[in-house]
Symmetry: none
Subunit: 205 residues, 4 copies
């Protein structure tokens, strides 16, 4: 009993080792710029070893991407978002959680959204599912807000706006585009929160 467990644990540890290194590399160098060789070298294993844990480079990449999505979702839970009864407050919290998570984990953001390499259909589906959780949750919340007349407007258009503005703010932040506008990082962080609040204030009935 103990043996199987230990083996499983060791395997998981190894996978973690690989992911940790690969995560950094994918971020710094991009998908194409990252080589399994280099990953192997950094964890001080042979390249072949990685293939014992991941079918190929893509499989590794997608595992990491998936982990990012899971971390994001988990950050919603940590912020207690799902348990907020008032849908408008839930929406507000969601937005802030999204901004916060991406500001704290800009690399994750890049990994989740800035990779457009060819993916097999399977991978695409997989990716969508991860996405999906967030998407569905946002939809439910928006719909509930409208039903309760807490915000007004077309459901789809509102979702688009909401997603657009939060995502867009994160993109600008992660890309450090604020520098082009002569704004500091700390300022930008403050501005982002305010922007979201302003936006909410305006759509509120």
């Amino acid at each position: 009993m103990g043996i199987t467990e230990r083996k499983e644990r060791e395997k998981e540890e190894m996978r973690k080792k690989i992911i940790d290194v690969a995560f950094d590399m994918f971020l710094e160098e991009g998908f194409e710029g990252t080589s399994l060789r280099e990953i192997a070298k950094r964890i001080e294993y042979s390249p072949a070893t990685i293939y014992l844990y991941y079918k190929d480079k893509e499989a590794l990449f997608f595992d990491i991407q998936k982990k990012c999505f899971l971390k994001l979702i988990s950050s919603y839970k940590d912020a207690g978002v799902p348990s907020i009864k008032n849908p408008f407050e839930r929406l507000r919290a969601m937005g802030h959680a999204y901004l916060k998570f991406n500001m704290k984990n800009p690399q994750c953001f890049n990994l989740m959204f800035l990779h457009n390499s060819p993916m097999s259909e399977f991978k695409k589906t997989d990716r969508m599912e991860n996405h999906g959780n967030g998407v569905g949750f946002l939809k439910d919340t928006v719909v509930e807000c409208i039903e309760k007349k807490m915000i007004k407007g077309d459901q789809l258009e509102l979702r688009m706006e909401i997603w657009g503005i939060t995502h867009g703010l994160c993109t600008l932040y992660v890309n450090k585009s604020y520098e082009a506008a002569g704004i500091t990082k700390t300022q930008a962080e403050e501005l982002m929160k305010n922007a979201w609040e302003n936006f909410l204030a305006r759509i509120k009935t």
Copy 2:
């Protein structure tokens, strides 16, 4: 005088030839997916020749990125944006032009914003400058709107929101994230325009 000029003109023509081909390739295959050999083959010159016009692959890439930025800016002009006197209308037109351009040229969008390969400091500055035009123009417009009390709020926060929402909408569009929400491309295009209009309606005094 004539000779130098002619030489310069010829050089420029060659550069154009290279860029034209490279532009398509970078757009279609991305930075890593594009090889100088292939570019050379298509223009029917040897790979070595390209080095007479560009220091390296990156230099070529940035010339192309620049081209994208110029195309974007030029699309503003084509839409007659700069000549619109009413700043609010100008803002509205700007937004629509931005959305339209990126919907029509999603690969340009990728090239301009999604390429994060290591760049020398020089390149970064260069890139900022291209950006800068748009940034400055937006700032002026927003400031003018506020001064004329056509919109209200903090200048910086508003710019952040505006830029965020337009850029964010484009990102979602280019990534086809709408698919995850079960929305078709055509729907998405319509929604984006409406989202921008709604947003404008709300910030308007």
Copy 3:
């Protein structure tokens, strides 16, 4: 006594399992094209297990080559060749059996004769022995034919011719060289038989 025997029997069974799968693979993909990993996967054992039964890939290969030779010899028996009293008829039957076997098992032919990978001396000897059976049998038959004045000529030269023509016909068949002469497979099969008959008719006294 019982235990040792059972163990031996089990070992033999395992070896058979391996050979059965490996046989197909070597036949289909050749020596280089066959990987121990794949063999292991197919018998649902780990690659390492194979090494408990075979020193290395070559050892396994030679066991299979041996199997081919045994199959060939056994095909003689199935055709009732050894029991034919008349040596000339025996020779005729032998030839037809050889042609038939190789036409039906072209991959076996390849395995037996077309694999020239570096072999240890031991392996070479081993191989010769397999060969040997057929060689000796042919010699005896030819000698007997000559003694009984059923064919005439030098014993060695005749063996060379006989072996040459039968083997040569098979080689051409297996290589599909008949295609280069615009001949179909079915035609070729018929021609081969006739060629052998014609040859026999001519050496007959």
Copy 4:
């Protein structure tokens, strides 16, 4: 004028260098056992250089195989075969030339006939053409012999026999199968010639 020629000559020399080394390696180690890396090392060039002269490993292999075929054909000419008027004598000379060539160049023989690796259709056609010359020439000669009533029998069957016996003899020789029959190399060479003569004597009217 001189420059182009010199370049061409140099290119040809390089190609020859590659072929010479590759020829030996393909023979000794087979197609799969031969690596471009090793070839490159032996000619003291980088692996990439080979790709300047050959598209890939297969292209190199087929060039060598082709050269073997050409050498074989050229050996017919050296032996004055084509100019022999009497078709039966021409046939005899052809057979001897074939035996002689393959006895002297057993490696060529292996390369020409003992490689069954996957080939693209193009390559197959190419190979057939090389083959074809010999095939057509044999056919014409046999037909002429029959027409002039110098040999008798079915044209196709005779060709099959002729090709079979000469090819088979060579195969046995190249494989050193004579060793299994306790025959020395020199003996075998003598036997082969005699076997061919005997065969001819028997088919002669």
